[in-house]
C-alpha cells in the first residue's frame, strides 16, 4: 500500500556549519545538564533534586571578590559622578585597555610565582577562552588541517576548535597505565595517524592544568612537547585556564617557564590561552586572552579579536581589581587553599565509599575511576552507569567518553560549584549507592 508522506516545501538553505552537529550539544555531557535543569537540587525546596557535578565553576571564593568591591567603589561605576564613563563607553580599540592588559600580565606572573614574565603588548583580549581557542585555530590552521589534542579533553573543544573553523582534532591517546600522561610514543602515533589520512597537522593543543584530569603536566613532559613541536615544525597551544587553580603554586609549571629557561628559543611557535572564568569564577564576564610569542600571530589575533572583544566596562573593572597587588596575592593564596580543602573532602568521601580517583593537584574537579562498577568495560557500559548515576543517584557527573577518554569507566566530578553542605549530600548519596550495590552482590 502506498504511504503518502507530505513533502515540505523547498526548505531555505542554511550553511553546512549551521546544520552540522559539530556544536556538540547532542552528547551525553549536555543531556545531564538538561536533567539538572529540569530538576535542580535545592537544599530546602528540592532536596531530592539532581545535584550538578558536571559544571566546572569556581564558587568558593566569591566573598573575597565581594569584599573587594565593597571597599573599592571607584572600580565600579567609573568613579563618583562617573567621570570616566564616556571614555570607557567609547573604547572599542582592539588593542584592549592598556591598564587591563597590564593588570592581566601582572596577574599571570603572580600565578606563576614570578617564574615567568609577561609582556602586556603580547596580550590579545577575547570574549572568553572559548573565543580565544577558536580564534587561534583560525590563525594556525586551514580547513581540513588537524590539531593534536591529548585525551581525555574538555568536551567543548569539539565545538570550539572545529565547528566554524573546519579543522579536525586528532587525539593523542593517554591512559591510566601511567596516570594519563602524554608520552612521546603517543605523540608520534597521533602524528602518524594524521599523516596516514593525508591530514596536515598544524599544532598540538594541551590544557595545563588538565581538564578533566585535574592534574598539572610535568615539566619533563612539557619539554618533550616543545621538542616535538619544534621537530615537526608545528605550533604548541597551552590552555592554562586553570593555572590559578593549582592547589600549590610550585606544582604548576607553565610553558612560559620552559621558554624562559630556553631563552625563548623556538618560542614563536608557542601560544598561551588564559581566562578569568575559572580562577576568579567570573565566566559571565567573558574575559579571555591569547598570549603569543609570535609577532604575526599577535597582530593577526588582535585584528581578529574585533569579532569578540571584552566589554570595556568589564575591562575597566578588572583593570582596577587585578592591579591591586594586595588583593590579588591574598586571593590567589586563599583560593588555592580552599580548592585544596574541597578536593581533600571529596577524595576522602569517595575513598570511604570505596571509590578511587586519579591523584590530582589542580582544577575544579576530580577524575573518578568507576571502571570496577561497569557491567561491561565498554562505552555502552559506561553510559549505562552514567545513566543510573543521573536518574537513580541524581548526580550529574560527566562520563569519560564525552571527554574522548579511550578507557571506559572514568568520570569527571566537579566540586567547586556548590556549598560544602551540598557536597556532603552528594557524597552521602554516593555512599548509599555503593552500599546498595555491595548488598546486591552479597
Amino acid at each position: 500500500m502506498a504511504i503518502e508522506i507530505e513533502q515540505p516545501s523547498v526548505s531555505v538553505g542554511l550553511s553546512k556549519v549551521a546544520v552540522s552537529e559539530t556544536h556538540g550539544e547532542d552528547s551525553p555531557y549536555f543531556a545531564g545538564w538538561k536533567a539538572y535543569d529540569e530538576n535542580p537540587y535545592e537544599e530546602s525546596t528540592n532536596p531530592s533534586g539532581v545535584i550538578q557535578m558536571g559544571l566546572a565553576e569556581n564558587q568558593v571564593s566569591f566573598d573575597l571578590l565581594e569584599e573587594y568591591l565593597e571597599q573599592q567603589p571607584e572600580a565600579s561605576t567609573w568613579g563618583k559622578g562617573a567621570p570616566g564613563f564616556r571614555e570607557n563607553a567609547l573604547f572599542q580599540d582592539y588593542h584592549g585597555l592598556k591598564s587591563f592588559r597590564q593588570a592581566m600580565a601582572s596577574f599571570m606572573e603572580q600565578i606563576r610565582g614570578g617564574r615567568a614574565k609577561f609582556d602586556l603588548n603580547r596580550i590579545v583580549v577575547t570574549a572568553g577562552a572559548t573565543a580565544a581557542n577558536e580564534l587561534l585555530t583560525f590563525i594556525l590552521a586551514d580547513p581540513g588541517d588537524a590539531l593534536l589534542v591529548p585525551t581525555p579533553y574538555y568536551p567543548g573543544f569539539d565545538r570550539d576548535l572545529r565547528w566554524r573553523t573546519g579543522i579536525k582534532i586528532v587525539p593523542i591517546h593517554c591512559d591510566s597505565s601511567n596516570n594519563f600522561q602524554i608520552t612521546p610514543q603517543a605523540l608520534e602515533a597521533a602524528y602518524k595517524e594524521a599523516e596516514s589520512k593525508d591530514v596536515r597537522v598544524r599544532g598540538v593543543l594541551i590544557t595545563n592544568p588538565s581538564n578533566p584530569l585535574g592534574a598539572t603536566i610535568q615539566r619533563s613532559v612539557l619539554e618533550e612537547l616543545l621538542d616535538f613541536a619544534t621537530r615537526k615544525n608545528i605550533h604548541l597551544v597551552s590552555d592554562e585556564i586553570y593555572s590559578g587553580s593549582a592547589f600549590s603554586s610550585s606544582e604548576f609549571v607553565s610553558i612560559a617557564e620552559i621558554l624562559e629557561a630556553r631563552q625563548y628559543k623556538d618560542s614563536e611557535r608557542v601560544h598561551i590561552v588564559y581566562s578569568l572564568s575559572k580562577d576568579l569564577g567570573l565566566p559571565g564576564f567573558r574575559v579571555g586572552t591569547i598570549y603569543s610569542y609570535n609577532d604575526k600571530v599577535v597582530t593577526t589575533a588582535r585584528r581578529m579579536s574585533s569579532f569578540t572583544l571584552i566589554s570595556s566596562q568589564t575591562q575597566y573593572l578588572l583593570a582596577s581589581m587585578l592591579s591591586n597587588k594586595k588583593f590579588t596575592e591574598n586571593y590567589i593564596k586563599t583560593n588555592r587553599e580552599r580548592l585544596q580543602k574541597r578536593y581533600q573532602m571529596i577524595i576522602e568521601g569517595l575513598r570511604s565509599a570505596g571509590i578511587e580517583c586519579l591523584k590530582g593537584n589542580a582544577g575544579l574537579f576530580c577524575w573518578m575511576n568507576l571502571s570496577p562498577l561497569l557491567e561491561e568495560q565498554t562505552r555502552e557500559g559506561e553510559l549505562a552507569l552514567w545513566d543510573s548515576m543521573l536518574h537513580e543517584v541524581k548526580l550529574n557527573i560527566s562520563p569519560g567518553s564525552s571527554c574522548h577518554c579511550s578507557e571506559p569507566g572514568w568520570f569527571r566530578v566537579c566540586f567547586a560549584n556548590m556549598s560544602e553542605q551540598t557536597l556532603e549530600v552528594a557524597l552521602k548519596r554516593i555512599h548509599n549507592f555503593m552500599q546498595k550495590r555491595e548488598r546486591r552482590r552479597n
Partner: protein, 459 residues
C-alpha cells in the same frame, strides 16, 4: 617556522586600504582645541557622542544597576557566573522593548529571538556563518560600510557581490540593479545566498522608503534567498521620513519569514561601542537556535547585560533619550550641512545616521579614483580633516566623501567648517589662472615646497 593559515596571511583584515591612512594621520597629530589647534580633526569616525550626559546621569542615579556598588553587590555572584548563551532574560526583554521603541512602537520584538553577538561586527559575521558556505556570495548594495569586507568575508569565506548605486537616482537600490547583479552572478557560477542592506544606510545617512523595502523583500522572496537588514542606525533618524524597519514591512506582505534577519547593536543608537552589544534577530527558528549556540564565541559580558537591562527597562529614561538624541543629531546635521552649503558644498539629502554624504565632485582634478584619492590626501594632509573617501565604501562614482558629525563638540565642528571654507576659497583662487599664472604658481609652489596640488586645468 610553522606557517600560519591562509586566513591569517591574506588581506581579509582589510587594514591595507588607504582608508586607514587618514586614521594614521589623525593618530599622529590629533586635534585639540588648546594643546594642538592645528591638528587633524577626526571626521571619519561614526560615533554618537551627543547623549552621554543623559546616560551618565542615569548611572549616577541608579547605583543598583552596577553589580559592583554597595547597592548592587548582592547580585554580583549570580551575574558573574551567568554565562548562559540565552542571555539574561531581563536583558533580552529590555533590548526587545528598546528596539520596538526605536521603531516608534510600530512593531514589537520577541525577546526569545534575540541572540547576542560580539558587537554588530560579531553579529554580522555570525549570521554569515549561519546562512552561507565558504565560496557562497551575498549581494551588497554600494556604497557600503567599509568593514563589511572584513566582517562578512574574512573568516567565513563568503564573497561580496556589490550592487552599484549612484547619484542618478540618489543611490536608490532598484529591482533592476539587483536582478542584473543576480544574473551576472549566476552566469559566473557564483551562488548567491542572500542580500544584505544597511538601513539607515552607512555611508549615505538615508533611510529606505517603504516601497523600496517592499521590493527588496519581494526580490529575495522570489529568488528564495536571505535578506539581512543591518539596522544599527535605527534610532539615529532625526528627521522625516520616519524609519521603516523590515520587521514592519513583513507584517503587511506575504513573504517567507524564514528568510528575514535583522542585525542590531547599541554602539550607534546609544553611543556605547565599548560595551560590544551586538544582536542577531532572526525570524527563522533554526537560525535562532544555531546562532544562539554560536554566540558562545561572542557573548555580551553579563555585567554589561545587567546594567543595560536596568537602564533600558526604565521607560522614562528611554523615551526621553530617544527624543533627545534625535533632536541633537538634527541640530548637528543642520549646522554642518548649512555651513557647507554656504561655501558651495552640497550633500546628499539625508535624515539619519551619524554622518552625511558630501559631494566634492566639482573639486576633483580628474573624475577618477585617483582624482578622488588625490583630493582626499589634500584634505587629510593640508586641510587636516580626516574624512572618508567614497572609494573606501566601494562607491563607483568618484568625488563623494562621508563626513561624521556626532563625534566631536560644537566648537570643533566650527573649526572644521572654517577650515573647509578656507580650503574651498583657496581652491577657487587657484583655478582662476591663465597659462602665465599657472607657471608662476608652479614656480612659487616648488619654491615654497608646497604640497598643494596645482594644475593648469581650465575652469
Amino acid at each position: 617556522m610553522g606557517i600560519l593559515s591562509k586566513i591569517a596571511t591574506n588581506n581579509g583584515h582589510g587594514e591595507d586600504s588607504a582608508y586607514f591612512d587618514g586614521w594614521k594621520a589623525f593618530d599622529r597629530n590629533p586635534f585639540h582645541p588648546t594643546q594642538n589647534p592645528g591638528g587633524v580633526i577626526q571626521l571619519g569616525l561614526a560615533e554618537n557622542q551627543l547623549c552621554f550626559d543623559l546616560i551618565k546621569d542615569w548611572i549616577t542615579k541608579n547605583p543598583y544597576a552596577s553589580i559592583c556598588t554597595a547597592e548592587g553587590v548582592e547580585v554580583f555572584k549570580d551575574i558573574a557566573i551567568f554565562q548562559d548563551y540565552h542571555g539574561l532574560p531581563e536583558f533580552r526583554q529590555a533590548v526587545a522593548k528598546f528596539m520596538g521603541k526605536g521603531r516608534g512602537g510600530r512593531v514589537t520584538f520577541d525577546p526569545d529571538r534575540i541572540v547576542m553577538g560580539g558587537g554588530a561586527t560579531g553579529a554580522n559575521e555570525l549570521i554569515m556563518f549561519c546562512l552561507a558556505n565558504p565560496g557562497d556570495a551575498f549581494l551588497v548594495p554600494s556604497p557600503y560600510y567599509a568593514a563589511f569586507d572584513r566582517d562578512l568575508s574574512w573568516r567565513t569565506g563568503v564573497q561580496i557581490v556589490p550592487v552599484h548605486c549612484d547619484i542618478s537616482n540618489n543611490f536608490k537600490i532598484t529591482r533592476e540593479a539587483l536582478e542584473a547583479a543576480y544574473e551576472r552572478a549566476q552566469e559566473a557560477s557564483i551562488n548567491i545566498k542572500g542580500l544584505i542592506i544597511t538601513n539607515p544606510s552607512n555611508p549615505l545617512g538615508t533611510t529606505l522608503d517603504r516601497d523600496t523595502l517592499k521590493s527588496l523583500v519581494s526580490f529575495i522572496n522570489d529568488k528564495n534567498i536571505h535578506l539581512v537588514c543591518d539596522e544599527i542606525y535605527a534610532a539615529t533618524v532625526f528627521s522625516s521620513p520616519k524609519f521603516t524597519s523590515v520587521a514592519e514591512v513583513i507584517q503587511e506582505m506575504d513573504c517567507n519569514r524564514d528568510l528575514i534577519h535583522i542585525i542590531y547593536s547599541l554602539s550607534k543608537d546609544m553611543g556605547l561601542p565599548g560595551f560590544r552589544v551586538g544582536i542577531v534577530y532572526s525570524f527563522n527558528d533554526t537560525v535562532v537556535n544555531c546562532g544562539r549556540k554560536m554566540s558562545s564565541f561572542g557573548l555580551v559580558s553579563s555585567q554589561t547585560q545587567y546594567l543595560l537591562a536596568s537602564m533600558l527597562s526604565d521607560d522614562e529614561f528611554v523615551d526621553n533619550f530617544l527624543v533627545e538624541t534625535s533632536k541633537r543629531l538634527a541640530k548637528r546635521h543642520h549646522n554642518f550641512t548649512k555651513g557647507l552649503e554656504q561655501v558651495g558644498i552640497n550633500c546628499l539629502k539625508s535624515n539619519a545616521g551619524l554622518f552625511f554624504w558630501m559631494d566634492l565632485r566639482h573639486l576633483l582634478k580628474e573624475k577618477t579614483l585617483e582624482g578622488e584619492i588625490a583630493l582626499w590626501r589634500t584634505i587629510v594632509n593640508d586641510v587636516k580633516l580626516n574624512v572618508s573617501p567614497g572609494s573606501s565604501f566601494q562607491c563607483t562614482e568618484p568625488g563623494w566623501f562621508r563626513v561624521c558629525f556626532a563625534n566631536m563638540d560644537d566648537d570643533t565642528l566650527q573649526v572644521a567648517l572654517n577650515r573647509i571654507a578656507a580650503f574651498v576659497q583657496q581652491d577657487k583662487e587657484s583655478e582662476k589662472p591663465t597659462k602665465k599664472r599657472c607657471s608662476r604658481i608652479f614656480a612659487s609652489a616648488s619654491h615654497r615646497g608646497s604640497t598643494n596640488k596645482v594644475s593648469c586645468r581650465r575652469t
